[in-house]
């Protein structure tokens, strides 16, 4: 049961909000399970032909209703439905004894296996599976219509919607909420093109029932039960008030292409150069000369400003072919990042020496940092090693909770630290980053993470160590303002986000950023923290 005022989090599509009554799409009547036919192959084949023709005609009718945006999608779907080889495959399934509906579903699954793991086709695969269900339903005499009301105003709530489903959306559909599907799902694309406010991937929406009043609030990435107009999250437009952001915005890069693209952005240097890419595809360890050439090329191309290079961050889940990584039960908690030094000191020294050659050749300011540092001794060992090899500024990644408690003891030994928020969240919350079911705990607005970050910024300040954030969260403009308010000295964003993050950080003063951070701290959970911060930003931009 969902109480009035409950907030359900998802991913917003569009910028306008809507409050209306729920129309809950029932899960479609279940199709009969796989079954054999009674022996009349010719009859089954005929049934299949008829069903395909029927569904094809339905699709044609829907295409006309759906209008131009979707007409091409339907044309492609109809071609797939009438595919000769698919029919041949289904026919041989009938010859093996399966009835027409089962045979067609099996045939589609044979193709599904061919496409599995290929991102381009996976969404299309869902469309084809939907067609197979329709053919099977037609054979079984089951209706898959959505029976959406044609008058009134409704928010349609369901698992996810196929092209055939969205084509049945009537004028009464003023909002859409899906339990599954992502920002690139068909539902999201259609809602965007028709300007229907939507929230997708909202798992708690499964408990929404017919007759409820809900607010669909895409800007806040949420649905509010009994939400009113006054609950709507305002879209924030960051208007730059000064030329320079309150703290430098650097770019994350991993290759020469990235470096070139980043230098076309307004990035102030590079805050995270991931070096793994240069090694993950090599079967033998590249010579120092080859590494140095590679690095020099990238350093020369990188945007003006310092370049923070992270030494290799590999592990048994991200193995480097020429380093023996073995198998581990828990790779995220295993021998990764700087921990490789035990067995592969030569490689890490080689990497630093190559970087020093490249630094000299390029004449660039190079900072080096080691990932996955958990103890004081590791940090000191790396700092001594790096300073012996070259004229670098030296630092560490802060991503394990343990090192947070020793930053103050590193005063004088380190020039800087850089926080990887994704890994810090994973280790702070004991929540596997790879497990989609735990996504909510890895939300950067989690109050515990905000407090951990606040502590890191403060203790670094006291220790005289420059602090930055290079995790995913630094690519979110509102979150970047919060980071500046905490006292971090720089952020590093994915290069496509550099522009908007810069703009956000140019639209506030340091005082205002602090206010936004203080507001975020009042939230008792991630949603409240985020909405409080956004509200503070709106208040500032209205001034």
């Amino acid at each position: 049961m969902l109480d009035s005022g409950t907030i359900l989090t998802g991913m917003g599509v569009g910028l306008s909000s809507v409050a209306a009554e729920v129309f809950r799409v029932k899960p479609a009547a279940s199709l009969p399970g796989p079954a054999k036919h009674s022996g009349d192959e010719a009859l089954e084949t005929e049934n299949l032909k008829t069903a395909i023709a029927t569904v094809s005609a339905e699709m044609n009718a829907l295409a006309e209703k759906a209008g131009e945006t979707s007409a091409e999608i339907f044309e492609a779907l109809i071609m797939l439905l009438e595919d000769e080889e698919l029919f041949e495959t289904a026919s041989s399934q009938i010859n093996e004894g399966w009835n027409a509906g089962t045979a067609f579903i099996n045939a589609v699954e044979e193709y599904a296996e061919l496409f599995a793991g290929d991102e381009t086709f996976e969404e299309r695969l869902n469309d084809i599976r939907d067609l197979a269900r329709r053919v099977a339903a037609s054979i079984a005499g089951i209706s898959l219509g959505l029976d959406i009301p044609t008058t009134g105003r409704f928010v349609i709530v369901g698992d996810d919607f196929s092209p055939a489903d969205t084509a049945q959306f009537t004028k009464a559909v003023v909002g859409v909420v899906t339990i599954q599907g992502g920002p690139t799902s068909h539902t999201a694309i259609i809602c965007r093109s028709k300007s229907i406010p939507a929230v997708v991937c909202c798992q708690q929406a499964k408990d929404i029932v017919d007759g409820m009043q809900i607010l669909v609030d895409p800007v806040g990435d949420r649905v509010v039960i009994d939400g009113k107009e006054s609950d709507i999250t305002e879209a924030i437009s960051f208007i730059a008030k000064s030329h320079d952001p309150i703290i430098p915005v650097r770019a994350n890069i991993g290759s020469l292409e990235d470096a070139i693209a980043a230098s076309a952005s307004a990035a102030d240097g590079v805050g995270l150069f991931r070096t793994e890419l240069l090694y993950l595809s090599a079967t033998t360890q590249p010579t120092k000369q080859a590494q140095a050439e590679n690095y020099a090329e990238i350093l020369k191309a990188a945007p003006a400003g310092p370049i923070v290079v992270r030494t290799i961050d590999a592990g048994s889940d991200k193995p480097v072919p020429f380093l023996d990584m073995g198998h581990e039960e828990n790779p995220a908690l295993g021998v990764r990042g700087y921990r490789l030094i035990e067995k592969h000191r030569d490689f890490i020294v080689d990497q630093l020496e190559s970087l020093e050659i490249a630094r000299e050749q390029s004449g660039r300011e190079v900072w080096v940092m080691a990932p996955m540092i958990a103890t004081y001794s590791e940090a000191i060992e790396f700092a001594m090693l790096a300073r012996k090899v070259g004229k670098f500024k030296v630092g560490i990644m802060v991503e394990t909770p343990s090192i947070v408690y020793q930053i103050n003891e590193l005063a004088g030994a380190l020039d800087f630290i850089s926080v990887g928020t994704n890994d810090l969240s994973q280790y702070l919350f004991a929540a596997d980053r790879m497990n989609p079911a735990l996504g909510a705990m890895l939300n950067p607005w989690q109050p515990a993470l905000l407090r951990a970050l606040e502590q890191i910024a403060a203790v670094s300040q006291t220790a005289g160590i420059s602090s930055g954030v290079c995790g995913e969260s630094a690519s979110d403009p509102a979150f970047a303002v919060v980071l500046a308010g905490m006292g971090f000295h720089s952020v590093s964003s994915s290069r496509s986000q550099v522009g908007v993050v810069r703009q956000a950080l140019s639209s506030v003063t340091m005082e205002q950023a602090k206010e936004v951070f203080e507001a975020a701290l009042t939230g008792i959970d991630a949603d409240h923290a985020k909405s409080a911060a956004l509200a503070a930003l709106v208040a500032i931009s209205a001034k």
Binding site: E75, L86, Y111
Partner: protein, 89 residues
């Protein structure tokens, strides 16, 4: 019947996806000719099934062999040129 062979390059940024696959099959069916396509070194597939074409999983920048069985080489060449057009995305 003589066979005309040539190669085409996938230029569509999403690779050989549903739309170009559908366009190619439609063209082939209308021509009434037998056309085979595939990656070089692999067995070519009859271009009469969009699913089969998509199953080639041809990515942007990849080359594909095309074979057309046709008495009139000019017709075959024009057909291959049209296929290349569809692969431009």
């Amino acid at each position: 019947m003589p066979t005309t062979k040539d190669s085409v390059t996938v230029l569509d940024p999403i690779g050989l996806h549903a739309r170009p696959a559908g366009q190619i099959v439609k063209l082939v069916k209308e021509s009434g000719l037998e056309v085979r396509m595939g990656k070089s070194g692999q067995e070519l597939a009859k271009a009469n099934s969009p699913l089969r074409m998509m199953a080639l999983k041809a990515k942007t920048g990849e080359e594909l062999e095309v074979e057309v069985d046709c008495d009139d080489e000019a017709v075959a060449t024009a057909l291959i040129a049209q296929i290349q057009e569809f692969l431009k995305g």
